[in-house]
Symmetry: C2
Subunit: 453 residues, 2 copies
């Protein structure tokens, strides 16, 4: 007797769940229907800044798989179909079209919701989010403008990675760029000493960065278009405003249905992505709460990598194979100009909140042997537990080749390694790729050496 | 009462030992004398191919610290001073100048000895090793040649990383390059399927690669200069011959003194780099035997990174602080043209020899999001224990950005992670740096998925 899996939301988490469930159960055993309110499924929102910036040519480049490709694998994708309600008692999803679609298993993968503070003017024309491909298309259209009426000044609200990436994209397209942030520095998940490097690089690129300024109003001209923002400190003109204020969970559908949310505001799930009181319902991706690998505490980190993996876990369980999500470290990587910016695990604020006795060690090194052409500066900061030396977090900021080194540190933290373990480890060396001691090892040695007194 | 530490050999291991001992014990407590037969200490032999190739301008660029800099730190370096014998009973080193220098502690850091098979002509003019900076200088002089008499054809014997790097260096300097190797493929510490990629890249660069051909003779012209080589298959003309046949331990001084060698022919030491029967004597670096982290078996891997760390361990122990060397994975990284080539842990031959039931999984991916400019192909091969999924070894071959990914795999193997652990880990993602799933994770997932049946 065939069951039906309904997936609400057709991006990373939803499509990973559908694909994995299909791998494990064939169409005669499990019908799979995905409801997606937009027109695209399985798209790379992370690629939008590069599409706007011109490094990526076509919208279609950002689409990993089309509904037709999923159909060929026995997964029905209904785009333009919004789920309006979930009836947990009846086991039905109500669509905006009035349909009541029964399910045996349900995956809630409604994704994230861009943070939009309640300030006047935020809905005006000329204010753009960076969430869906349509947002990217709108920004591209705005930049291309009418002949003689192209925007000249771009203003980005927020200094997280989307803010940074959009600031660079606008600058690449010839706009004067101003970045306004409420925080004292960009990249709040970096410690201040590392965030200062990012801020300095943005300024050196010719961007204007206004920090510590919460936006109070988006200024709107007579035609109803955004023409700037006002903060407590001043007003800044703009022809185009982009919102990069972060991403919260889009959990309204789940909450309205009576599914429990966690303290992060995201759907509460167990480690198999299952809603605790409704074992037939799963949530995955940006709408779902998860947990931090180091602290064990609940966390919400909106990122495509986790969405993919969590969707896959849900799909496995639905497919009959036990699976557990292994947690997040909050690893993140971006670049602004040539400066690569990466972090993983706990920053000092997080380590303190989590109750760790911790220490920090920062070193300066080079990406290649100092004598090899293209050797660039890199700073590595480690946060480790005092006494035990267990690695808790790491930050890397530096020139080309610096950023991906965060993966070594993420792997070490994942495995529970101490700084001394990492200091002894056998990393690769060749002059075009690193100094004899890779900067991550130099940092680990610094911890290890001083821990020994 | 002051003690004296004598260090024989002033490169990576010797100078690391001296520096670390000095950090822990001051000059009033420990006199430190380093005997170095050459003129340079603390130099980067690994940089020689890039000095020859022109990426590095000056010999001095390859020297990390001069004898004067060590002297300023209270370390006496006597260059041009060859140790001829060690008298263990008397606790003395005999120098070539007839001096008998007493020691309380001794570090043997005599380094490696380039493999030189017993074939006629190998000592002829025009045949160059790649061991000391003087070798690099000689090759540079030969390439610059007399006006109108510059060498046109370069021949490299051996296809390990020094062979590859020297082949590229000669080609950069305008020579036609032929590489002759006794093995069926270059980079014998790669599996054949990965080695084939390297071979293909060399050929695509315009190098001629002759495999499976042991050299029987270096051909010498009437003036006594090397003019080619003869193998079982054919003869190949050359104006310049470079030896890249690998590096064995230079352990004659130790052996002659009666220090025990291990089955690798290198000095047998415990994990604190101490000679078992002579606790006042240590050996470190290319002359010393070490052990493999995965197999626990003895190993000899001549590499600057290990030399530095082992020297540091010896220096710590001499300085009164317990320390242990943590083993090697045989991590190695190089490039030929734009192809980056990296390996760590056990290759299939080594896994088989070590008695593991193993499986291999290879995936093809890209270094960046497929839609991002500069995304290059990368192949990742994992060797893992059947059943447990424990990672045993890894190989990465691909375009720019591929190679340093080996460090994630080396860290995972170091920590004893399984493929499933790695598949779940939180590695960084951003389109300019990787696809959503980094290729190393894709490879780990492949193992993990198929292990689950």
């Amino acid at each position: 007797m065939s069951e039906r899996l309904v997936v609400v939301g057709g991006d990373a988490a939803g499509m990973s769940a559908a694909a994995q469930a299909r791998r494990l159960r064939d169409a005669g055993d499990l019908e799979i229907v995905v409801l997606e309110q937009g027109q695209d499924v399985s798209y790379s929102a992370c690629g939008i800044p590069y599409w706007v910036g011109g490094q990526v040519g076509e919208r279609s480049d950002l689409i990993a798989r089309t509904p037709a490709e999923f159909a060929a694998r026995g997964i029905t994708v209904r785009t333009g179909t919004r789920a309006e309600a979930i009836d947990l008692a009846a086991g039905q999803v109500h669509t905006a079209g009035g349909e009541r679609l029964g399910y045996d298993r349900l995956v809630v993968a409604t994704g994230g919701r861009p943070v939009r503070p309640p300030i006047p003017g935020l809905d005006a024309d000329g204010v753009h989010g960076v969430h869906r491909l349509d947002d990217g298309a709108a920004i591209r259209t705005a930049i291309d403008g009418l002949p003689g009426d192209r925007p000249r000044r771009g203003l980005v609200l927020g200094g997280g990675y989307i803010g940074l990436e959009m600031a660079e994209a606008l600058q690449r397209r010839g706009l004067e760029v101003t970045v306004v942030l409420a925080d004292p520095l960009p990249m709040q998940l970096l410690d201040a000493d590392m965030g200062e490097r990012v801020c300095a690089a943005m300024t050196a690129m010719g961007m204007t960065v206004h920090t510590d300024q919460a936006v109070r109003e988006v200024l709107v001209d007579a035609s109803g278009r955004a023409c700037g923002v006002r903060t407590d400190v001043g007003s800044y003109d703009a022809d185009l405003v982009v919102l990069g204020l972060g991403m919260g969970p889009e959990a309204r559908l789940a909450a309205d249905a009576g599914l429990a949310l966690g303290p992060t505001g995201a759907v509460d799930v167990d480690r198999s992505q299952r809603c605790r009181d409704h074992p037939e319902v799963f949530a995955a991706g940006d709408c779902a709460q998860t947990f931090h690998r180091v602290t064990g505490e609940v966390a919400h980190v909106a990122l495509g990598t986790h969405a993919n993996k969590q969707g896959r876990v849900a799909g496995s369980v639905i497919g009959g194979r036990p699976a557990r999500f292994a947690g997040v470290l909050g690893t993140a990587l971006t670049k602004v100009g040539d400066l690569e910016v990466a972090r993983t695990g706990l920053c000092t604020t997080q380590a303190e909140e989590a109750g760790f006795a911790y220490r920090t060690d920062t070193i300066e090194g080079t990406t290649r042997a100092g004598y090899y052409p293209g050797a660039e500066q890199v700073a590595v900061k480690l946060i480790s537990e005092s006494g035990s030396g267990q690695l808790l977090g790491a930050q890397v900021v530096g020139g080309p080749g610096a950023g991906k080194r965060i993966d070594v540190l993420a792997t070490a933290i994942w495995a529970g390694m101490t700084a001394e373990d990492l200091a002894g480890s056998d990393l690769s060396y060749a002059p075009p790729f690193s100094p004899t001691y890779d900067p991550v090892v130099v940092a680990a040695r610094k911890v290890s050496r001083t821990e020994q007194g």
